[in-house]
């Protein structure tokens, strides 16, 4: 489904991604790494917000490198950005509507989709008439995920979804992601620093440090890996 090969990206003269390769099929994959490791840059390369200097990015066997972000999103990739990127003056309902409005296939089925969204995030139904700006951090995070799901994506990418959430909400978030993956059968790519929680939701994971992939393994193997236990789980 998603295939990244030998990706190199720069910010000006700063080389930020080095020969990164990543494969993702119908599964849930995690990308772990410290701040500044290149997780967000990798996601931005996938969705066209950063243009890489070398390598390939393919989705469903089609290259994404010559496409604009809106075209990539319309091809079936939905993103939950770290900074949420909601429309603050629009109501929660309008934000959800925006998630499907520009993807023709999703727009036709938006009413059924809203029912599904409200079943997994009931609080959004209660607050659907409020502007996104007045929702709490956790509610805004749920709204961003819900907005992405409104697009009926084949691949859902989440960039540090647990940032700013209290521990109980983080646990709840990963449970819901697992639930969505099971009920929808969609592929999920999660960039995350909260390795402990994320390992419960993923099938496989990559570790990225200083712009390079340094480790890849199944979730079970990562949980047993000494380096992961020491550096990311504090054990």
């Amino acid at each position: 489904m998603l295939s990244i090969k030998n990706l190199d990206a720069f910010y000006g003269k700063l080389h930020v991604l080095w020969d990164v390769s990543l494969e993702l099929g119908n599964e849930c994959v995690g990308i772990f790494g410290p701040n500044g490791a290149g997780k967000t840059t990798l996601i931005n390369c996938i969705v066209g917000l950063v243009k890489p200097q070398g390598g390939t990015v393919e989705f469903d066997n089609k290259t994404l490198l010559n496409q604009e972000t809106f075209q990539i999103i319309r091809s079936g990739i939905a993103v939950v950005p770290q900074e949420r990127e909601l429309f603050p003056l629009m109501t929660a309902a309008e934000n959800l509507e925006a998630g499907s409005a520009y993807i023709p296939a999703a727009h036709a089925k938006r009413k059924e989709r809203l029912e599904f969204i409200f079943s997994i995030f009931p609080v959004l139904k209660l607050k659907s008439s409020l502007p996104a700006a007045v929702l709490s951090g956790g509610e805004q995070r749920m709204l961003t995920i819900a907005r992405a799901l409104m697009a009926y994506p084949k691949l859902l990418i989440l960039d540090e979804p647990s940032t700013g959430l209290q521990p109980s909400l983080t646990t709840d978030l990963f449970l819901r992601l697992k639930q969505i993956r099971q009920s929808e059968g969609i592929s999920i790519l999660i960039a995350e620093q909260n390795v402990r929680q994320c390992l419960k939701a993923i099938d496989r994971g990559y570790v990225i440090e200083n712009g390079k992939i340094v480790l890849q393994a199944t979730a079970a193997n990562l949980a047993d890996n000494d380096y992961i236990r020491k550096s990311y789980l504090g054990l």
Binding site: F70, V79, F87, L89, M90, A101, Y102
Partner: protein, 311 residues
């Protein structure tokens, strides 16, 4: 009881204050209120398309009034060359200015999107100068005046006599406001434009073609201001720098109302238009009108800044 509780809100207090003020002016000098409404409408209808560009594309278009000037010259050109009534000339002018908007966007605006605001300001300022000089070379700086008989029509009610044509501006302001509001709320492109105005990156991430949205909004706004220029030429003299004061006043109105607040533009236009009208009606004080206009703007911005700091 509901009315009393509503009057505790500042918004309703302002509306009540405006109504009381209007009744007093109407009783003492009704022509001042009528002229104020006409003047306000003209300010509002000119400022609305500029607000659309600033609120959604994020560009301060300092050539705004110069596009209006071009529209006025187009009205003159149509009238002289083909004898076309300016009211009818608004239709081809709207189409022509939509195309001019598209060309301007691709040639000048798109390359500076995302660059520093100062670059954008200098670019549109330069564009305004180019348009003024082009008009100067083509038509000279001598004011031109269209001869349209029906613009001098007036109505007498009791002792009060007033021009009726200027109510076209009231109608135009209401129409433009209504169409823009409806467009932003009810159409797919309009909703996309609201999303882009609030968060361009978020808009890209829900599949909106942000550049296409910028193009449509910019071209639409230029089409509106060009058409308003045709309307303007029917009552006012046409000369190369006629648009500059309106660029400044429109920008000030947007600053007062707050970016993205098109309803606020109507209210502040009313405040400024009626205030100017009152000043102009005082014998020997007509020259103070602009001073009062800008003093009110400074005052309104200071009060808003103070309120925001207190919050």
């Amino acid at each position: 009881m509901q009315i009393v509780s509503k009057l505790r809100e500042r918004r309703y207090q302002a509306i009540l204050g405006a109504i009381i003020m209007a009744v007093i002016i109407l009783a003492v000098k009704p022509e001042v209120l009528l002229e104020g409404i006409q003047r306000s409408s003209l300010y509002a209808v000119i400022a609305l398309p500029m607000a659309l560009i600033l609120g959604i594309v994020g560009i301060i278009n300092l050539a705004h009034g110069d596009f209006m000037m071009l529209g006025s010259y187009m009205a003159y050109w149509f009238a002289v060359k083909s004898g076309l009534d300016p009211l009818l000339a608004m239709i081809p002018a709207m189409l022509a200015f939509f195309l001019i908007g598209i060309l301007t966007f691709y040639a000048l605006i798109k390359p500076v999107l995302g660059s520093q605001e100062l670059n954008q300001l200098l670019l549109t300022f330069g564009l305004g100068l180019v348009l003024e000089e082009a008009a100067n070379l083509s038509f000279t700086s001598a004011p031109l005046k269209l001869s349209v008989p029906y613009v001098s029509a007036s109505l007498t009610i009791g002792d009060l006599t007033f021009g009726t044509f200027e109510f076209v501006y009231v109608l135009a302001a209401m129409l433009v406001f209504y169409i823009i509001s409806l467009f932003l709320k009810k159409t797919r492109i309009g909703r996309a434009a609201r999303a882009v105005g609030q968060n361009p990156k978020g808009a890209k991430l829900v599949g909106i073609d942000v550049n296409k949205t910028y193009l449509i909004i910019f071209s639409l706004s230029i089409a509106i201001i060009g058409t308003i220029g045709v309307l303007f030429a029917m009552r006012h003299s046409v000369f190369p720098v006629m648009g500059a004061p309106y660029t400044m006043k429109s920008f000030c109105l947007i600053a007062m109302a707050g970016i993205g607040n098109i309803t606020g533009i109507l209210w502040y236009s009313a405040l400024l238009g009626v205030s100017e009208s009152i000043i102009t009606a005082i014998p020997g004080a007509a020259g103070w009108a602009d001073l009062v206009f800008f003093a009110l703007i400074v005052g309104a911005i200071l009060i808003r800044s103070y309120q925001q700091r207190v919050k």
